[in-house]
């Protein structure tokens, strides 16, 4: 399938569509460039494996290496806790996203606003609508998704990828960040 078709066929956004993360460096650069990134992790991550590891382990590493606070939605927290990792916040995705639209919101720690929000693991269609909300109403926040499918409403998204390509990319992103 075409790289930049919406994964769910009919979820066509309009003229404004995500740029592609074709190479890991792109994502790395974005994350490095971000002043205050945040990562929202949905329950879908429990299903994926990345090169034999659970995706959640990969994200924990990403959070640690990139110093990116994690917001766990739904029941995702339990899996983090099982791994001895405490998310910075537990909060529904719509609630967090709604706060992101407020340019004066100073974040979970009350210090400053976020300028990059990374989403991963929400149901495709729900991530689609939430990213749409942010695309239109949070111009001060760039968004990125780490899912293996194209999310047109993000600022940056992977293309629709095979699990293998995607896993390689993701591993690479995490590895680079440590440096």
């Amino acid at each position: 399938m075409p790289m930049t078709d919406s994964w769910q066929t009919a979820e066509i956004p309009g003229p404004k569509k995500a740029s592609l993360i074709i190479k890991p460096d792109i994502a790395d650069a974005m994350i490095r460039r971000a002043r205050r990134p945040i990562m929202v992790v949905g329950h879908g991550i429990l299903e994926y494996e990345v090169e034999g590891r659970k995706l959640i382990d990969c994200l924990i590493e990403l959070s640690r290496r990139g110093k990116i606070p994690v917001v766990a939605t739904a029941s995702t927290n339990q899996e983090f806790l099982n791994r001895g990792f405490s998310p910075s916040a537990l909060m529904p995705a719509v609630d967090l996203a709604n706060r992101l639209t407020d340019a004066r919101w100073n974040g979970l720690d009350g210090k400053d606003s976020y300028d990059l929000a990374i989403f991963v693991g929400l149901p495709y269609y729900m991530e689609w609508t939430i990213l749409s909300g942010l695309k239109h109403f949070a111009p001060h926040v760039k968004t990125m998704t780490l899912d293996c499918v194209y999310q047109p409403n993000a600022s940056w998204s992977f293309p629709n990828s095979s699990i293998k390509d995607w896993a390689a990319n993701l591993t690479c992103i995490v590895a680079n960040l440590g440096d």
């Binding site: 003229p15 927290n77 806790l81 537990l90 706060r99 149901p123 729900m126």
Partner: protein
């Protein structure tokens, strides 16, 4: 616009003035001399009458818009790109356009209920007379129509008294829809205020429809022990001719039951139903069987079991004619609203129609006379059953499934078309190798929408494969449901009013609406039982009422067998079909008016303010998909009742979310002192889409909190919230300190950990106010 006139009808059927007779001057308002409550400030409110109340709510719960498209395509100036801060050719901005779309949705929903109510009422008045008395509960229901009394300020006594209510609804729907015209309203919160107005009108329409049918058709009258009805595909006796009724308007179906009875055929023919007509037909005859919610339409028809399909209006799949033709079952359309291009045979003799159906000369017909439908459906089913031999379109056995699965090229288009992103290609691959377990698992989560099938270039009937692979499951679908009881009794309200407002009962949770679930029906049953176990009052209606019954516990019992049907702590109360939702709103209103003795008549704001600040009710529309569901939710919002939806609910274009972190948002008036005091972020949200069942349950528990909670009540609510959070999310809720006002709010068993948490969050004590959002309520406040 003020529409305080009262309408009177004169039957003038096909006559000019000379023949005018049968003038029935029953004036709705005249019955009001039995109601001595003085008129409140806002009878028959117009578009802006309650705007201040709406804006008060909407400024606390600001819409978070989630555009489902960057574009507007409403007029031929379009399409307009509204991304960023762009405006359309008419000058509209994206937030306003989103709220306009919501208003169109709510208007469609409200018009559907009100249109249905009008159709039903006309029919019942024609059949039973306009003077037929409204009776929704033989004993114990004096406030027969809380919504009508509240909104319109009238007290209906007879069926005819309901007509001015619908006149008002139709008028307001016309005004509301006009607002959506290109180049009219331009500001999102004014659109949203009108959405709430549409929701209130929708509640009127639902109340009219249900109290009319309860009264005239002898449905259970506020009966907590209404009988149990069979539920599930496995309950059908496939040895008999089977009639399937689908939709929402019950008269054609009651005529089927009546004809069977008249001809002593009741035990010879199965009457089965899907969607609300199914719920309502079991309120008429508990012999009828409910197959399931809207998601069962395709699978049941394709099973070949129905011999005749009778459709009326609403929630009828648009491909029903094609699907029933495939199983050779004739289709009878019975509503002007859903004619499907069929020939109108309303005036043809029954014999001819039945003959044409049985010989296959005709696959469908429009018959607008319910009595004729009754006879045609029954006689056709009996005549055709031996001929069509339950001809089905499902693959006939495992080999057939495998053979079809082998054609799959793994192109993934089916999965990409599936609303729930179900892993179809993998399951089909396994099936091709003889392993049906993947398909069988998918059955549980499948919406039955059929959208996976048309993109398949191999023409694999994917949904049919799923259903066939789950053959054993479908045969085992033998559940039961308590038939819709209708209203809540005034006496029940008197009993639970105190415990609810005091918090002994932690809340009322209503599971309503459609079956667009993210993971199948079972989650609704699980949620219902969890909250009933925790001694909330659980209400159900519509497709959710069916889903609630589609699961058996270890003891083999369904939710309805385990829990009582009383409106009491731990009850699971099926009010009935979609239009019965009015009784849930009605119960909240009656708590304010009967228990707390707040004036009811034409007094919307005060009652809504009471409900919002004191009645811990939450609506849950886990699979809400329809425009009606949107309107129902809007009706709850205006009354101050929060609504939780499933993840698909984000497609409703916006959430109404509170900001618990913004202290300034949560001030209320203390009615005793007149001061503005912090009331806490309760309820935190007005419209919230949860990602998973677990997230929903934690949120439901949280949303039952109200500023008025006593410490005992708050402690009870908090105990449930914390407990669910610990179990489903892990740990103490990070925001628990926001909900503790004094230390006596802390649940005893959790004291230590909570107090530690409070210290970590530099918690400070706050007084418990006598809360209101209405300045004019200061000092007027009476105990309640």
């Amino acid at each position: 616009m003020s529409r305080k006139g009262v309408n009177i009808k004169i039957k003038e059927l096909n006559s000019d003035i000379a023949q005018l007779r049968d003038i029935s001057l029953t004036i709705g308002a005249i019955n009001n001399d039995t109601w001595d409550e003085p008129m409140g400030p806002t009878p028959f409110p117009s578009l802006t009458t309650l705007r201040n109340w709406d804006l008060t709510l909407l400024n606390r719960y600001k819409p978070f818009y989630l555009p489902f498209c960057d574009l507007c395509c409403l007029c031929t100036y379009g399409k307009c790109d509204l991304s960023g801060t762009k405006r359309g050719a008419c000058g509209i901005s994206m937030p306003a356009q989103q709220s306009r779309t919501v208003l169109i949705t709510a208007c469609i929903g409200a018009s559907t209920h009100c249109g249905h109510a009008r159709h039903l009422l006309d029919h019942l008045i024609e059949k039973y007379g306009g003077d037929f008395l409204i009776n929704v509960g033989d004993t114990g229901v004096e406030v027969e129509a809380p919504v009508i009394r509240l909104v319109c300020g009238i007290k209906p006594v007879t069926l005819s008294d309901l007509e001015p209510v619908l006149d008002y609804c139709e008028n307001q729907i016309t005004q509301l829809l006009a607002v959506t015209h290109t180049g009219q309203e331009g500001y999102q919160l004014d659109f949203e205020s009108k959405v709430l107005h549409a929701g209130m009108i929708d509640q009127l329409g639902m109340e009219v429809a249900d109290i009319a049918q309860i009264s005239a058709l002898g449905f259970p009258k506020a009966d907590p022990e209404s009988s149990l009805a069979d539920l599930g595909l496995g309950t059908v006796d496939t040895g008999k001719p089977v009639i399937l009724v689908i939709g929402h308007n019950v008269p054609p179906s009651t005529e089927i039951i009546d004809y069977l009875q008249k001809k002593s055929l009741t035990s010879d023919v199965e009457v089965t139903g899907i969607c609300c007509t199914a719920l309502d037909i079991t309120r008429y005859s508990s012999k009828a069987k409910i197959i399931g919610p809207i998601s069962w339409q395709l699978r049941y028809i394709r099973s070949g079991i129905p011999d005749v399909v009778v459709i009326d209006e609403q929630c009828v799949r648009a491909d029903t004619l094609q699907e029933s033709a495939h199983i050779r079952a004739p289709l009878i359309a019975t509503s002007e609203k859903n004619c499907l291009g069929l020939p109108d045979r309303t005036d043809d003799p029954v014999d001819e129609i039945v003959h044409d159906f049985i010989t296959g000369k005709q696959t469908g017909a429009l018959i607008l006379d319910p009595v004729k439908v009754g006879e045609v459906a029954v006689r056709t089913s009996i005549g055709i059953a031996p001929l069509r031999k339950k001809h089905k379109t499902l693959p006939k056995d495992t080999d057939a499934i495998i053979a079809l699965a082998k054609k799959c090229t793994q192109c993934v288009l089916c999965r990409r078309a599936c609303p729930n992103d179900l892993p179809l290609p993998a399951a089909i691959k396994a099936a091709a190798q003889g392993n049906l377990s993947g398909l069988d698992e998918i059955y549980d989560d499948c919406l039955g929408c059929g959208r996976c099938e048309p993109p398949c270039a191999q023409k694999i009937p994917i949904h049919s494969l799923i259903v066939a692979a789950a053959g054993k499951k479908t045969r085992d679908e033998t559940y039961c449901i308590r038939t819709g009881r209708g209203a809540i009794q005034d006496v029940e309200i008197r009993k639970v009013g105190g415990p609810i407002v005091l918090g002994e009962i932690p809340g009322i949770v209503a599971f309503v609406g459609c079956a667009n679930y993210p993971k199948g029906s079972r989650e609704v049953a699980e949620m219902c039982m969890e909250f009933a176990k925790r001694r909330y009052i659980v209400c159900t209606s519509g497709c959710s009422a069916m889903s609630a019954g589609m699961y058996r516990n270890e003891d083999g019992k369904t939710a309805y067998e385990q829990y009582s049907g009383h409106f009491e702590a731990g009850g699971i109360v099926n009010v009935g079909s979609c239009v019965s939702n009015a009784h849930i709103a009605g119960a909240a209103i009656k708590i304010a008016s009967i228990f707390a003795k707040r004036p009811l008549r034409g007094n919307y704001e005060e009652i809504a303010d009471y409900v919002y600040n004191r009645v811990g009710a939450v609506g849950v529309a886990w699979g809400a998909m329809s425009q009606k569901a949107a309107a129902i939710a809007a009706g709850f919002w205006r009354l101050g009742i929060p609504v939780v939806v499933g993840p698909h609910g984000t497609k409703y274009r916006r959430m109404l979310l509170g900001r618990s972190d913004k202290e300034e948002d949560w001030y209320v008036y203390d009615a005793r002192t007149g001061k503005k005091v912090y009331g806490g972020p309760v309820p935190e949200h007005l419209f919230f889409a949860a990602e998973t069942k677990e997230e929903a349950m934690v949120m439901i528990a949280k949303l039952t909190m109200r500023p008025n909670d006593t410490s005992k009540g708050r402690a009870n609510k908090l105990a449930n919230y914390i407990d669910l959070h610990k179990r489903l999310v892990g740990g103490i809720p990070p925001d628990v300190h926001l909900f503790v006002r004094t230390l006596s709010d802390v649940p005893l068993t959790m004291k230590d950990e909570i107090v530690t948490h409070l210290h970590d969050h530099s918690w400070k004590e706050n007084p418990i106010p006598d809360p209101t959002l209405l300045k004019r309520m200061i000092h007027k406040e009476k105990e309640g």
